[in-house]
């Protein structure tokens, strides 16, 4: 999934890029409104994050220009001022959501996931990726969510996490090599720190395993990779 981030502050742009890349998205950054429109034309992203106050062309104008072409594409505004938000809502620009600065990573991730979910739900053409089982969780890839069978507990997942879980679930009781997971979920041209995978696994265990210290389903095979024990 391709996300376009239009934000004039380079640090915020960088931070968001890193964060969303980690989440498993393909990210393109733009430093002003004009560049954002050019990038939009070039890359045809599936989601756009727009800062309102930008040089050359502000977020509103960019939004309007994009909406002329595509009424469906999810757009999330970034805003520092409540007045701007008022305007976004008041003008009914077709924003799907907005995030007030300053924001935390969890907020951003949650909003993007929620918007994506809604977007996917509305897209009739989207192929329904079937859900799969992991431990006592049922994983719903399109919803980026894991639910227990009784439906009482639910956990939000990132795109990358779903990918990892899918690999594990598809090959139960088989050791999945670290490189394979990297290739599959990060891409070939990506060479992340090996710790990155471990951190993801740790995070998943924290949320899914009944006891993260004594994992039942996601087992570490030292020096090789991981194995799923159903």
């Amino acid at each position: 999934m391709h996300i376009l981030i239009a934000e004039d502050d380079p640090l915020i742009r960088q931070g968001l890029t890193d964060l969303l890349t980690q989440e498993g998205y393909q990210v393109t950054g733009a430093e002003d409104g004009k560049v954002a429109l050019a990038q939009y034309q070039q890359h045809k992203p599936q989601l756009i994050i727009l800062d309102i106050m930008m040089p050359e062309l502000d977020g509103y104008s960019v939004c309007r220009a994009i909406r002329k072409n595509d009424e469906q594409i999810p757009i999330i505004f970034l805003s520092a001022k409540s007045e701007e938000i008022d305007r976004v809502i008041g003008l009914e620009m077709g924003a799907d959501d907005y995030i007030s600065k300053p924001f935390g990573i969890r907020e951003v991730v949650a909003r993007i996931r929620a918007v994506r979910r809604r977007y996917l739900a509305s897209q009739v053409s989207t192929v329904e990726v079937s859900h799969f089982k992991l431990g006592h969780w049922m994983i719903f890839p399109n919803q980026l969510r894991a639910k227990t069978n009784d439906g009482l507990n639910s956990v939000d997942l990132s795109l990358r996490e779903v990918c990892i879980l899918k690999q594990l679930s598809n090959h139960p009781e088989t050791v999945i090599h670290r490189d394979r997971l990297f290739d599959h979920c990060w891409g070939y041209d990506h060479s992340p720190n090996s710790r990155t995978l471990d951190q993801h696994i740790a995070k998943l265990r924290k949320r899914l395993e009944p006891d993260p210290k004594q994992p039942q389903w996601i087992i570490t095979v030292h020096g090789v990779g991981y194995r799923y024990e159903p």
Binding site: L11, I12, G15, K81, S82, I89, P102, I105, Q199
Partner: protein, 549 residues
């Protein structure tokens, strides 16, 4: 509210003005009344002067004739002679002891003037007693008629054309003789008779030459010479037919207004005549003008003062607005670095090993940046009232998320959060507003009630109890600290109020948290109040639930 100051200013200007106007109106009225009284007094005085002239004239002639008549020989030729020589006398008559006319002597051929005389005196020939028997008293003082009543005043028109003698006058001191005046109207002129009754009952009557009478009176009355004394008033003599006989006084004045008119009837025997007095309204106008001028000056002063105040106020407001704008500008500028601090701190935290110290440090950075965020948001919501955006939100989740940010800080202070979130349904609320309320309430707990060790976060729904009321969403945040004193309870929601006791000593704060929380609550149609509890403080947020449909 925007117009409060202008309204107050307008009131400040208009009220004293109205008061002043009212006062000066009253003063003017009083002055008018005083002037009216003075006018009436002056009018009476001046009219009395004129009346005295006329009175004296009649008295002089009465006296003159009273002494002359007894000396007259009553033969025809001597009476003829008297008429012939005396300018004042138009005609004479003599009534004998038998009540019959002795003079003018009965004849078949009267001269024209005698003929007319006999005609107009017919009533006397019929009954000579009428000269004096008609004994009605009349006031020595002339009757005065106040000007406003002039309308009601009607001349006794019956006297005009009737040939009845009106009345008779002074009885002589001597018992045997008496004399007096008699007057009546005949055709369009007045007949004035001086009569004298001899001891032997003979009556001699003198008909005055009415033209000369008039001319004499005119000659005696003042003329219009433009002397200072006569300025500002005019008088005129109105005869029994309502015609102006003579007019004098200030050249520039005319009998124009009824208002400054004063009428007085003349004394007998000209009692159907009137003296009218009219004074210049100049002085009154002058007073009115002066007071109007003063009022105007005062009004101008007040207005300029008001305008100055309004300008000053505007300047202040503008300055304040500039300050607020500056503060919010600065606050906004702070947001970008703050975003970065928080973003990167959280990302750092995520990528750190489970090494407890590093985790803790990054956590502190995250928490402090959040605190800074709250402060900035408070400042901003105080300087600008944001709009309310109501939407259906999962309120428990929303609250939980907000509280979650505090948990690390609470943990450090050994404060435990007890959740009792019982609302498992979407509620229409403003999520930013709710966030700010919870933030501010928990900030206070963090600041003032850490010693209570516990904080309860309770949500619940009160179902519809009465048919016409709605269901309510309730959020309670309760601590177990020192609580809030009775005195402070009244003020805690006021901006910039800080509970001034040992609890708040050394604790920093802006004093706007609760007032913002209350504001936010009210803006989404909810209430925020302090509910009494045994220990600590319990704030209750109560939001009527709107039907989601």
């Amino acid at each position: 509210m925007k117009y409060r100051l202008p309204i107050i200013l307008v009131l400040l200007i208009t009220l004293p003005l109205l008061l002043l106007a009212w006062q000066s109106y009253r003063l003017l009225n009083n002055e008018k009344a005083v002037q009216q009284a003075q006018f009436t007094q002056l009018a009476k005085l001046r009219q009395q002067q004129s009346i005295n002239i006329i009175k004296d004239y009649f008295n002089k002639h009465a006296n003159q004739w009273q002494s002359q008549i007894p000396q007259w020989s009553l033969t025809e030729s001597s009476l003829n002679q008297i008429i012939h020589q005396s300018p004042k006398i138009n005609q004479l008559f003599l009534i004998g002891t038998d009540k019959q006319r002795d003079y003018p002597i009965e004849s078949t051929q009267y001269s024209k003037s005698t003929h007319h005389f006999i005609q107009r005196m017919q009533t006397i020939w019929d009954d000579p007693e009428r000269l004096f028997s008609n004994d009605q008293q009349y006031d020595q003082e002339s009757q005065t008629i106040a000007p406003p009543n002039t309308k009601n005043f009607k001349r006794k028109t019956s006297n005009f054309l009737s040939s009845t003698p009106v009345k008779t006058v002074t009885k002589n001191a001597s018992p045997s003789t008496r004399s007096g005046w008699a007057m009546w109207h005949w055709e369009s002129s007045v007949i004035v008779i001086y009569w004298h009754q001899y001891a032997d009952d003979k009556i001699i009557g003198i008909e005055l030459n009415s033209s000369l009478l008039m001319a004499d009176i005119i000659a005696l009355l003042p003329d219009t010479d433009g002397s200072v004394e006569q300025q500002h008033y005019v008088q005129r003599l109105i005869n029994g037919n309502g015609q102006i006989a003579y007019e004098w006084g200030d050249k520039k004045l005319n009998f124009t207004q009824q208002k400054n008119l004063h009428s007085t009837l003349l004394p007998y025997p000209l009692s159907t005549w009137q003296l009218e007095y009219f004074a210049s309204p100049d002085q009154q106008q002058a007073f009115g003008l002066i007071s109007l001028l003063l009022l105007g000056i005062f009004a101008i002063l007040l207005f300029s003062m008001g305008y100055y105040l309004y300008q000053e106020y505007h300047r202040e407001v503008h300055l304040a607005a500039q300050r607020v704008s500056f503060v919010s500008q600065v606050s906004h500028e702070l947001k970008t670095p703050l975003t970065n601090i928080r973003l990167y701190a959280e990302m750092l935290e995520d990528s750190l090993d489970d090494e407890p110290k590093s985790q803790q440090y990054s956590q502190i950075i995250v928490n402090e940046s959040q605190r800074l965020t709250r402060l900035i948001n408070n400042v901003l919501s105080f300087s600008r009232k944001a709009k309310v955006h109501l939407s259906a939100i999962n309120i428990d989740e929303e609250i939980h998320q907000t509280v979650e940010y505090f948990i690390p800080g609470f943990k450090l202070r050994h404060l435990q959060v007890n959740f009792q979130l019982n609302v498992n349904q979407p509620i229409f609320a403003d999520s930013d507003g709710l966030d700010q309320i919870v933030n501010n309430l928990l900030s206070n707990v963090e600041k003032y009630a850490v010693k209570g060790k516990q904080v309860d976060i309770i949500t619940e729904i009160i179902p519809v109890l009465e048919p016409n009321s709605s269901a309510y969403f309730i959020l309670k945040i309760r601590d177990y600290g020192k609580g809030i004193t009775q005195h402070a309870q009244k003020h805690i929601f006021k901006p910039f109020y800080r509970v001034d006791d040992h609890i708040s000593e050394g604790v920093s704060g802006t004093g706007i948290g609760l007032s913002i929380a209350l504001q936010q609550a009210e803006r989404m149609g909810a209430t925020l109040s302090l509910t009494p509890v045994d220990q600590g403080a319990c704030f209750e947020f109560k939001l009527p639930i709107k039907d989601l449909n």
